[in-house]
Symmetry: C2
């Protein structure tokens, strides 16, 4: 666990003043029933801690409502009593947005996990917010559809949390942003008002599209209780290639060719540099354990899809309706790039086991980093042609400190995951952190990039928000927050930096 | 021209009190230069009238700024002086949203028509709001990209207006909503503040995505001055089929098969009923002129792509990267549907002239209706399986009055254009209007449809907004409007119905 920053400690102290009482707990029990009220420290532990063990709250109360009406009654009471609330889905975020800072009440959506309908003509899904992404994927798949997003955390993340954090993930390139695929939302506002825009219509231009406000607001403007999503048809064929190239310039040329030649069947373009590849394919070191300060340098143990050592590697995935056509396009594409020397080496997965092995290279990097040393994680968007410059500049800056730098990510979206780690050293080092921050944020801001491409702001980055948003925009955010949550009960301390003259009511 | 409704007359009276003076005009001339200030009635005529001749304002002043800074200084002055402003792009809307109601100042974006950049790696376009859609399409096409939207009005509509009205159009099925494809906006707020979120990043999760507020707000929350858009790659092959089927049930089966079999290459599915088809393919009557009360029943004169008479017709368009693959998919798809009797007759365009002739059938309906009689136009979203029921129910209801009913639209989006017309009678009839409204709106509301799928609310439908939006949502819209435009200077009288206790400041 990282040290809490001074600002967070002071916020936590503030909220400790506004304690809920036994009378409040009794009132909540009358709404959700005794089984929906958790007060035992052991029961509260998973609600108070994020999955990385990095953020930790001190909540003494978690509520598990079973319906929108129950959420509404809970929030109306909290608003009246000025009790702060943290909405929580699968609690799989990376910036501490779903974990209490102090003694907020945790509002878990897990029990609200009904699929309401899937219109088989139009492919419009309506479901409650607590549905697990993977469960929805299976439900959709069985009916010929697919979810428009896919994440590593799909087995536990919930669709309400996905929408509240505007999750991106692996299929963003193909199916686009949730701002486009969410058709409708049901949201409970801070005062308990139910805002119902749960229409499963592809087009609706009747006034302001206010559901958009809640997509990516990280639970600070309202609690999403249900959603309607536009689902694409499930592909009938999925094919995967793994390529090696010798320069970032060749990565860009390959990317351009893929968009041009593979166009409509392209479903993912991921990239990883040699440093990521070597780490994830190095033999695992059984003595090194997560955060244990063990041997260090322990690898990911993934099988190498290519033996040739290259500067960068790329995964290119196609999803389409005709395996023959897609295979022909992929073969032709790869042949041309090998012939002109853009691609040094490449392989195509011939079955789902080979596909899975290739995906393990890409998806295993995070785990391999964790076993190798203390990790400093950044998730940024940068104009594509400068994307790898950040990795090289950071690497040059950190080398004297003995820290290693890896770059990988969702190339198709201009989204780089920059990871710095200290081999064999599992404690965070102030000198390393000081060399990275604010350097990385300033580097990104100077190129008008985003300091948080997909992870969000949460409790980790409010003080850096100004690096990606100008003062008038932050001021307008505050105006919207004050309009929707005037008593600041919803996920306080997240997203927005504290106002200069903040006064709690 | 339709009669102005009493409410509009009273609003117009209200604004007439807040007249701009010669001093204001001098001040504006000092900002935009004398050539940017129009005050002659003849010069103002096109700014005061919509293209249908249905809505008419009485503005005495139009301003043509050349930069965001000029827009900012104009709005700061108008806000200070409480002078109402109508932002205007290509003025091609269908609900009177871009035309003054009384003596508002027209703020034309036409001079702000620079393309700022097109990142050829990522396909991100940045341009000013006054760029004409077709000009952008040509610019994109020359660089291997395509615009994510296409409309009949593309030759004159402007991208700022497209975004302000959240335009849908013909490629929505393939490329999705502007809420997904707009990456960034530059917006001038009512008080002149420039809100800059003009980042051309595919992913950016740094706080609330407030640019979304301005997409579809019809210029009532701010003036869009520039935008960044994600462009898809231009297709290398476009193919088109025209099919005839004998029931709406067969339309749905064909739609399902197209989504399943053609998946990723499908770029449009349009449908029209027999009534639309007969009208648009009937011989033109040269004596009948638009609104002229001439002979009546004049047809569209489009060539019939099929000789077989069917209950409904469909256009299916594919856009892809390989003509051979796409042609094979389309041929196989059509063969199977002809074999099992779902499709009665069908043809595939073999060159661009045949394609254009087929598109004229679909796109000529609006013009043919105008020549046939007075038209009552509705643009609704309804769950797909009930979509044609509205046409049949309206037809049965209107038959005794001698009015005809046609149904056509963007089937892929559940978007029906319902048009009622009175053959040979070019004056609006109160009995016909009374039989349609509020019947159609109530019918749609009962099925949780949208009373405005893509046209917007403008000045035409604020009083029906409650048919698609619940009271808490309308109240929140008012809150957002008050936050962003406290003195109600931006496009007043549009989108929101007048508040019970409205008091102008």
């Amino acid at each position: 666990m990282l040290c809490q920053q001074p600002r967070l400690r002071s916020l936590a102290r503030l909220w400790r003043r506004r304690l809920h009482t036994d009378l409040d707990v009794q009132h909540f029990a009358s709404i959700v029933g005794p089984s929906g009220v958790l007060t035992e420290p052991a029961d509260l532990e998973p609600f108070n801690t994020d999955w990385m063990g990095k953020y930790k709250g001190a909540s003494r109360l978690a509520l598990r409502p079973g319906s929108t009406q129950e959420v509404s009654r809970i929030l109306a009471h909290c608003n009246e009593r000025r009790l702060p609330v943290v909405p929580q889905g699968g609690n799989t975020g990376l910036v501490g947005g779903s974990v209490p800072v102090g003694d907020e009440i945790v509002l878990s959506l897990s029990r609200m996990n009904r699929v309401i309908s899937l219109d088989e003509h139009a492919g419009n899904l309506v479901c409650e917010a607590g549905c697990v992404l993977e469960t929805l994927q299976e439900h959709a798949w069985a009916r010929g559809y697919t979810m428009p997003l896919d994440l590593g955390a799909k087995g536990s993340c919930q669709i309400g949390g996905n929408i509240a954090t505007n999750a991106g993930g692996l299929r963003y390139l193909r199916y686009g942003s949730l701002h486009g695929t969410v058709l409708g939302l049901e949201v409970v506002l801070a005062d308990g008002t139910v805002l119902d825009s749960l229409t499963a219509l592809r087009k609706d231009n009747t006034g302001y599209d206010l559901k958009q406000l809640f997509i990516g607001a990280e639970g600070t403007l309202g609690v999403i209780t249900a959603c309607a999503l536009a689902l694409p048809r499930a592909p009938q064929s999925v094919q995967l290639a793994f390529l090696g190239v010798d320069s970032y310039e060749a990565v860009l040329r390959t990317f351009g060719a893929a968009r041009r030649e593979l166009g409509e069947v392209l479903s993912a373009i991921e990239f990883l540099d040699r440093e990521s590849f070597e780490l994830v394919t190095a033999p695992p070191q059984p003595t090194a354990t997560d955060g244990g300060g063990g041997g260090g340098g322990g690898g990911g143990g993934a099988r190498r899809p290519l033996e040739t050592s290259c500067r960068h590697y790329m995964l290119i995935e196609l999803s389409g309706s005709d395996a023959g056509h897609d295979g022909e396009k992929l073969g032709r594409f790869l042949e041309a790039l090998l012939a002109d020397g853009t691609v040094v080496d490449g392989t195509i997965a011939h079955d789902s086991a080979q596909s899975a092995a290739i995906w393990r290279v890409r998806e295993g990097i995070t785990g391999a980093l964790g076993r190798a040393g203390a990790v400093y994680k950044y998730d940024v968007s940068i104009p594509l042609h400068e994307l790898y410059d950040l990795v090289e500049d950071t690497r040059a800056r950190l080398a004297p400190l003995g820290a290693e730098v890896t770059g990988f990510g969702h190339l198709g979206d201009g989204n780089l995951h920059l990871n710095v780690y200290t081999p064999g050293v599992f404690e965070q080092r102030a000198d390393v952190l000081g060399a990275i921050e604010p350097f990385v944020y300033e580097w990104v801001a100077a190129r008008r990039g985003s300091i948080s491409a997909e992870h969000g702001i949460g409790v980790m980055k409010p003080n850096y928000l100004h690096m990606s948003k100008a003062p008038p925009m932050i001021e307008l955010m505050r105006g919207v927050k004050a309009l929707l949550d005037p008593h600041n009960i919803l996920n306080p301390g997240k997203v927005l930096p504290p106002a200069e003259s903040a006064s709690e009511t």
